[in-house]
Symmetry: C2
Subunit: 484 residues, 2 copies
């Protein structure tokens, strides 16, 4: 299966800047960080995803003859530079937080260390991929949380923003906790469970609902979920489904999995009534699945109202993250190598303190409470800093620095969460399977306090700076203010 060549999937300005660097002979290495400033949907955390597709993108970076020819036709690139592009490949290092990890604002999800031209080219596609999949994985986590243990199925392909949004959105949804997807291509490419039974058109193509149900039950006894709302849910759909279940039972056959699906009307009322009818007929193990414009808020409310639903199909609101359809990851310059080979930290200032970047070559340590295994905080430090967990550690808020927390030596553990992915242009990382990533993500969420996972006004996890990083940042800021 051929993937489209994504080398030109970049903003024009990356190429005009590249040519500028090329012409001036600027080949020094730089460091760019990918980070985000706010969790989507006011969530208490995010789930990072998309790294495997970034790896594929980097591996396949290659300007074809046609690409170069197209760029030549724009009339703004020199033959020298086009020659350089013809032989282009990525030669740098990439570090990233593995997919499925819970992450927090302002910490680098991915770090590129490469000659400036290479680091600049890859900005747009990396952001595109990470922003999309992290968004959907995070949104899915919220929906899965609201379902408190019920299975969530991803049903959004028809409303996704194009084929890739459906395909990689399904991938991210599985990472975020969905039990399956309706998307067959996603099933094939990512080896994840595919789900679905029939639509209203199935019912309408038969002379009556009963015949449609009966035909379906005969064909699919392993998974016979009947859609009951084509005509009238409680007067026609549920009674016809029960009739078919009854006949099946009477003939001595059994379903492996069976039940009904509600796709319209008030799901709380209809599910409770349908449950009574199914139970009264002795079908206590028949499941009730619901779909129809669900999101985490409606799901939360339906659960509160005691809806008798045990499985949920979620479409548009999940696959587009409807109330917050972009993740907002950015790619910011953190350091430039000088002639001596040392990385000189760089900072981007802003009138908005929140938008000031963290300079230098950094890494992230996740700090856990030793007793509970829960996340205490994340600590951003320079990449070469080391910490001794037997020592006390004083954490402080990087903006309101008087807010401090002391961790007693021996009471906490630390784990570096940024790992090497590319070294000198070679991929040295093997992505787990999507199912493995999803399992890991489930474990990751267990490291969060309940207060951080709730849907509304969750407690935010601290992301602090090491004292050394804080001092360098402060010095750079002071230097800046003088320059202006």
């Amino acid at each position: 299966m051929n993937r489209q060549d994504l080398t030109l999937l970049t903003d024009l300005y990356e190429l005009t800047m590249m040519q500028g660097y090329y012409a001036k002979g600027q080949h020094e290495k730089v460091i760019f960080d990918v980070f985000f400033r706010q969790n989507p949907c006011k969530n208490g955390y995010s789930v990072c995803a998309g790294l495997e597709q970034v790896i594929q993108y980097i591996k396949n970076l290659n300007f074809t003859y046609e690409d170069v020819d197209y760029l030549r036709g724009l009339g703004i690139f020199s033959e020298d530079f086009l020659q350089y592009l013809s032989g282009f490949h990525f030669s740098g290092d990439i570090y990233a937080i593995p997919e499925g990890t819970v992450v927090f604002p302002k910490e680098p999800l991915l770090k590129v260390i490469a000659p400036i031209m290479e680091a600049q080219l890859v900005e747009t596609a990396i952001l595109n991929i990470i922003n999309h999949q992290s968004l959907i994985a995070t949104k899915t986590s919220r929906i899965v949380f609201a379902a408190s243990g019920d299975g969530i199925m991803e049903f959004g392909l028809r409303r996704a923003q194009g084929p890739d949004a459906g395909l990689y959105g399904a991938r991210a949804a599985i990472i975020g906790g969905c039990v399956g997807t309706s998307n067959v291509l996603a099933g094939r490419l990512f080896d994840v469970p595919v789900m679905g039974t029939h639509a209203h058109s199935w019912i309408m193509s038969f002379p009556d609902e009963y015949t449609a149900f009966k035909t379906y039950a005969q064909m699919y006894p392993d998974n016979c979920t009947l859609l009951v709302d084509t005509y009238d849910t409680l007067k026609s759909g549920v009674p016809n489904a029960i009739r078919v279940f009854q006949e099946f039972r009477d003939s001595g056959r059994t379903f492996k999995k069976y039940g009904i699906r509600l796709d319209s009307g008030d799901l709380a009322y209809l599910s409770k009534e349908a449950r009574k009818m199914l139970d009264a007929a002795g079908f206590l193990d028949a499941s009730i699945c619901a779909s129809n414009d669900l999101d985490e808020y409606l799901l939360h409310d339906l659960k509160m109202q005691g809806a008798a639903i045990d499985s949920w199909g979620v479409g548009t609101n999940l696959i587009t993250s409807k109330d917050n359809p972009s993740f907002g990851g950015v790619y910011k310059l953190a350091a430039i190598q000088n002639k001596e080979g040392t990385f000189v930290p760089k900072i981007k200032i802003s009138e908005n303190t929140e938008k000031i970047t963290n300079p230098g070559n950094k890494t992230i340590f996740r700090i856990y409470d030793k007793t509970t295994g829960k996340v205490k905080a994340d600590l951003i430090s320079f990449a070469d800093e080391t910490f001794d967990t037997n020592e006390d550690m004083l954490l402080f808020d990087p903006i309101e620095t008087w807010k401090k927390t002391k961790l007693t030596g021996g009471s906490y553990t630390m784990r570096e969460i940024l790992v090497p992915v590319f070294k000198n242009g070679e991929c040295i990382y093997k992505s787990p399977s999507v199912t493995e990533i999803a399992d890991y993500c489930r474990q990751e969420k267990k490291t969060l306090w309940d207060e951080t996972k709730r849907l509304f006004y969750p407690h935010q996890v601290y992301v602090d700076l090491s004292p050394k990083l804080y001092e360098v940042k402060k010095a750079l800021l002071n230097q800046m203010s003088i320059t202006e």
Copy 2:
């Protein structure tokens, strides 16, 4: 450039239903309509887009050996049916409204007439493609309208929901009226203008802002737009830009196109101040471009406040249609062929009158006022109905039927907007280029009254039913109510 094979880009239930039809020997032809119920963003119209990608998808439908093997592995499909899939190709007819046409709720944008198995398979991908591109083309139309003549550039690739959302989103944005895109791959594939100059990282990679500007100006005199907000817009950025423009002028050189770009802060205030500074220095033809979280509302307000901006880069809000990120197109069964070969109209009822479908094999006539050339209404009729524009025509609201409008014979013209695209599986339609579609779309918008184009509470265009279609629909509804 190879496109990924999209044959499996479908919901699993399409395949389980197909196998059901296959097993029962149901090969009769059916008619499915693609339509939507509401314009996105409370707009007064929508712009349909995506047909060319639907055509490519249909042409390339083909289950590979690997596809069939994967499906076999699911353990729910018979060898017979898998054999059938191996030889699958689309043999039906498709009619569609050409891309760039302004369209309204409830009218079929696309109509599939095909054996039921084929018509069912293609549902998901057709909806995915049409929903996405129509959404972005419509959102773009709103933003372009708010800019009242200024150029809008599409800059959203990094925030798009995956590579395709960026690529086909850029295509739809050009159709909707953008003058260009930052997306180089879109430029190459669709032959549309690509735009962009440099980012903050360009400035930061130089010892100072002035040197960064000067270097850029020397390299790109044809289009020298300098980003002035890296340090301080009015104290540093604009003065440095003016210094570079001045030196350029003093050395006797001229720019083809030049100016500044604002990417943060209050765009109204900063643009007016920057304009004064540029004018005072004699750079009256320097353009001022703005970006930073723009949408049609902010743009409308900035124009009202007299912002001195003549070109706008729009990212996230356009490429995700942030306040309304899904189009909501649906695919509904309208008719089934009986043994005599006649299409029997089918209707899907709902408690919500708005959701009841229009039955039968239909087409759409657009009715224009002869004098002004403006759209009076759309009329949905059966495909074989004819109308004589020399005769009076009585239009009536299909729900509130007492609301009537009489068109006097000779005062109006009619144009059938649904055109044949596939005939017996063969494509008989040649898509115009994206630029041609964009030109056509501009003409299309001229056929709308200003009242329909405004951003807030626009006047809705009437979409009425022919008397014959209305009577059949009423009869089917009555029949339904008796059956229940």
